[in-house]
């Protein structure tokens, strides 16, 4: 039976009593051209059941053949996570019945994963946390079921289900951490940072599109609590398919507060899978899961063992991009950011966007200014991930170019970003619609200067009496008159000429 819907404790109260222990399982869909065990294409979004063949439909007699690129990607991921790479390993069959699984077993790996015993690091609030990697193994995705007729879209209450096997057989790498124990107040942020780091790493490796919105990166978060200071692990829950960085953080926090409420009132946490609800920010009970669940794993007899030669592994190692920590240090140096600035960049998940923006010719300082000052702030306010805003490096570079050209100043640029975030069109369209361009017409500026001089005789008097600094007030008046749409430097230049400074 599932536990009654639990109240939650406040997170601070929960962490005052309990230490969270986490384990994260991340499934990555590889971006190979063909599926893991057959030649079907892997593109997302094709009409249902058009990317299928006897092999991925599990027709009688059909046999799998391992995709070499899939193995290559698995090895790269393993190496990038500082894993050992197996000299010899096998696939295994994970036997269970489900209508969207064509063979009623998943071809996976069991006790012989291709990569194991690794580690990686994440940075949260300037602190580096080491995360041990248990394993990274190869497997295939299942088909996708759509349950029709029920209220929730889940199978309960549905009148029938539709199955799309396009996804069946897409190569997956499952990356499993060892238990993660960090200070409780950092746990959720570390989980988020880990998934975010993986995303960046996988992108850099070029092995996956890592589109969380399309399910090509999916996180299952295992959370349990133990009384503060205790070393006895509690009962864990596994929250499935948490599909954004922010949701990872929220889901972990929610489970901590939910489990704490159960435990502190003397209840028992049920070992089960849980569903994450993006809209309400809570998890609900899924299926009960016991350790005794028996998948009757055995070595896949249809596939020969995978025995990557050491030469091949070393060749692949040589192609790896630089490690994230090394890269961060290099970029900080190149960009001339202080430790504090770099920390803000990392915490704001803005590292990759800034890299991409700098590559488009924007100075690091300007890129940081827009990404952190405007975009990250907005993402934070609206509860979205930075890459889900619809504003990318290209837009940032375009806006900055207009600033550099003198068409916009920073204040106007901010309004352009506001328009971009609101989906009002391209920067040019927004400038047009909102009438944001700077006035570069000298006569208009000179008229405003005349008005400012006329309206502020006392300031003019001060300037004429040998206090040129007082002219700043006149510039302010002109800018106000122009409703900000003037280049302040230009105004100063014209004003100085007028006043003979």
């Amino acid at each position: 039976m599932t536990a009654p819907v639990a109240d939650v404790l406040e997170i601070d109260d929960a962490l005052a009593q309990y230490d969270p222990v986490m384990g994260l399982e991340v499934h990555v869909e590889l971006n190979t051209k063909s599926k893991m065990f057959c030649g079907c294409p892997t593109e997302f979004g094709a009409p249902p059941n058009t990317h299928t063949c006897p092999v991925c439909l599990g027709l009688p007699g059909a046999l799998p053949v391992v995709n070499r690129r899939g193995v290559e990607s698995a090895i790269k991921i393993g190496l990038a996570l500082n894993c050992e790479i197996a000299e010899w390993c096998r696939f295994a069959r994970k036997n269970y019945f489900y209508p969207d699984m064509p063979k009623n077993f998943q071809t996976s790996q069991y006790d012989e994963p291709i990569a194991f015993n690794g580690w990686t690091e994440v940075v949260v609030d300037g602190e580096t946390y080491r995360i041990e990697i248990e394993r990274a193994h190869m497997e295939e995705d299942t088909g996708k079921s759509t349950h029709v007729g029920g209220a929730t879209g889940r199978i309960h209450g549905a009148s029938h289900s539709l199955v799309d096997y396009n996804r069946a057989g897409i190569p997956l790498i499952e990356i499993v951490t060892k238990t993660i124990e960090v200070p409780g107040e950092k746990a959720a942020a570390v989980a988020r940072a880990y998934v975010s780091m993986l995303r960046d790493l996988l992108l850099a490796l070029g092995v996956s599109d890592v589109r969380m919105d399309q399910g090509s990166l999916r996180c299952d978060a295992n959370v349990s609590l133990k009384p503060r200071g205790s070393s006895t692990l509690g009962t864990r829950t596994e929250t499935k398919n948490v599909n954004s960085f922010r949701s990872v953080e929220r889901a972990v926090t929610y489970e901590i507060t939910r489990q704490a409420a159960i435990l502190s009132s003397g209840g028992k946490v049920v070992q089960e899978t849980r569903h994450w609800h993006e809209d309400t920010g809570i998890t609900t009970s899924g299926r009960e899961k016991s350790d005794a669940e028996d998948y009757r794993y055995f070595p896949e007899p249809d596939l020969v063992p995978v025995a990557p030669s050491r030469e091949w592994v070393e060749e692949l190692r040589a192609t790896l991009p630089e490690a994230p920590s090394v890269r961060r240090a290099r970029l900080q140096e190149e960009w001339g950011f202080t430790d504090l600035e770099m920390r803000d960049v990392i915490n704001g998940n803005a590292l990759e966007p800034i890299v991409a923006t700098v590559e488009l010719g924007v100075t690091p300082a300007a890129a940081k200014k827009w990404w952190l000052g405007e975009l990250a702030r907005s993402a934070n306010e609206s509860g979205q991930d930075l890459d889900a805003l619809g504003v990318g490096p290209a837009e940032v570079a375009e806006v900055q170019k207009l600033v550099d050209e003198g068409t916009l100043n920073d204040k106007l640029a901010r309004q352009v970003f506001e328009g971009l975030l609101a989906g009002e069109g391209t920067p040019a369209e927004i400038i047009e619609k909102r009438g944001l361009a700077l006035v570069s017409d000298d006569s208009a500026l000179l008229e405003a200067i005349d008005r400012a001089i006329a309206a502020n005789p006392d300031v003019v008097e001060k300037v004429n009496s040998g206090k040129p600094a007082a002219a700043g007030a006149l510039i302010g008046a002109v800018m106000k008159d122009m409703r900000g749409q003037a280049d302040a430097a230009k105004v100063r230049q014209l004003l100085n000429a007028k006043l003979g400074i």
């Binding site: 006897p54 439909l57 027709l59 046999l63 209508p99 063979k103 055995f298 249809d302």
Partner: protein, 501 residues
Amino acid sequence: MSDLTRKTAAELAELMTSGQASSVEITQAHLDRIAAVDGDVRAFLHVDTEGALAQAAAVDTKRAAGEELGPLAGVPLALKDVLTQEGVPTTAGSKILEGWKPPYDSTVVKRLKAAGIVILGKTNMDEFAMGSSTENSAYGTTHNPWDLGRIPGGSGGGSSAAIAAYEAPLAIGTDTGGSIRQPGAFTGTVGVKPTYGGTSRYGLIALASSLDTPGPCARTTLDAALLHEAIAGWDPMDSTSINQDIPPVVAAARNGDVAGLRIGVVKELGGEGYQAGVEARFHEAVELLTKLGAEVVEVSCPHFEYALPAYYLILPSEASSNLARFDAMRYGLRVGDDGTNSAEKVTSLTREAGFGAEVKRRIILGTHALSSGYYDAYYGQAQKVRTLIARDFAKAYEQVDVLVSPATPTTAFAIGDRIDDPIAMYKNDLCTIPSNLAGNAAASFPCGLADEDNLPVGFHVMAPVMRDDLCYTVGAALEAALAEQWGGVLMTKAPELEVTR
């Protein structure tokens, strides 16, 4: 020209090359023979009259156009119903696949078609190849042409009976524990289990993936070798297929010189439980080979006595997983889909109705053997035995070139005789199973009739991996020497089937 059905495949090929007969005539003669006798023999589950004649006509057209054709082009063949043929009903002898028409050709069928071999239809078999008599077929028992009251062996009883009844000169079987060789022995025909991986399993509806091997059935050694060559060789669609040249089987079958060949008689495969007439014919054959210049010694393979129990753990384990795909979701039988039953219920009702008793027995056995807590004791232990058996072979092959034994402990038994005694049925395969466990080549050749019942006895030859040619060398020598005694191959001694009513 009804005597066309009495010709060997090699003779038929010669008739076609010399223009004395067309493939259409030859094919029609065999279709007529099927129409005349198969009501009694029941070797075929499906006769593809139209398809066969169309294939035959196509070969005749190509020949008339002077196109280069393979050595067996235009020769008809009977195909075991466990291999997929596009658009032709394929059931594996099971109700659960009744009416299923595969959308693809197995590799064996592709190669048969490429060789211009005409496929007459699909032959009966024990359900999913589980059995040694065809009595486990969901579509009735095939009768042994030597004595219609007896079983023809199994699982490939349909294929061997078809060639013994002159319904086809060639047939394809599959051998998991003796399913080609035991029916060959029981019907006085040649049955070869190639090296595992020497012939492709793609499109073979799996019983036990690590054991299943397609192979040729024929009335003569040379015919078997010609067919072997047509279907064998590396297949990129089967990961377990061996990427090496096909052993020189045809040359071996033509040559048949055993002078200096070292032959080991397996001590453990004989004696108690072996029918006197079987032992007598076997030892005479060994004598004959000695006279032909072979050096015969006795060899001990001490772990062979554990082969049967190991086999009956490995096979059901793999089968329980292989057969999981028959779930009524995508193809084949569907029972209870009345709009109220859940998918799980429909799966359950379908499997209950669609699988026979022996299939259920093995699914349950295998599911148990793979269960956590039992895996090591059953599946794991069986795999260790398998290794020991392979070592027995390896050690034996240090002393001798081939090993020999009777193909079966007894001759063909009466229909119904052992159907209620699975262990007695399983013991049929005592001599044949070790070669499947080790993956090496083996074959059964006719060596006479047992005195007690006047039924055929099979001479079993086992050769190292990818030395299939050695089986043919021995078979050809024996065949030639015995033909001298008998005035023809053993099949010429078969009683005429009563064809007129």
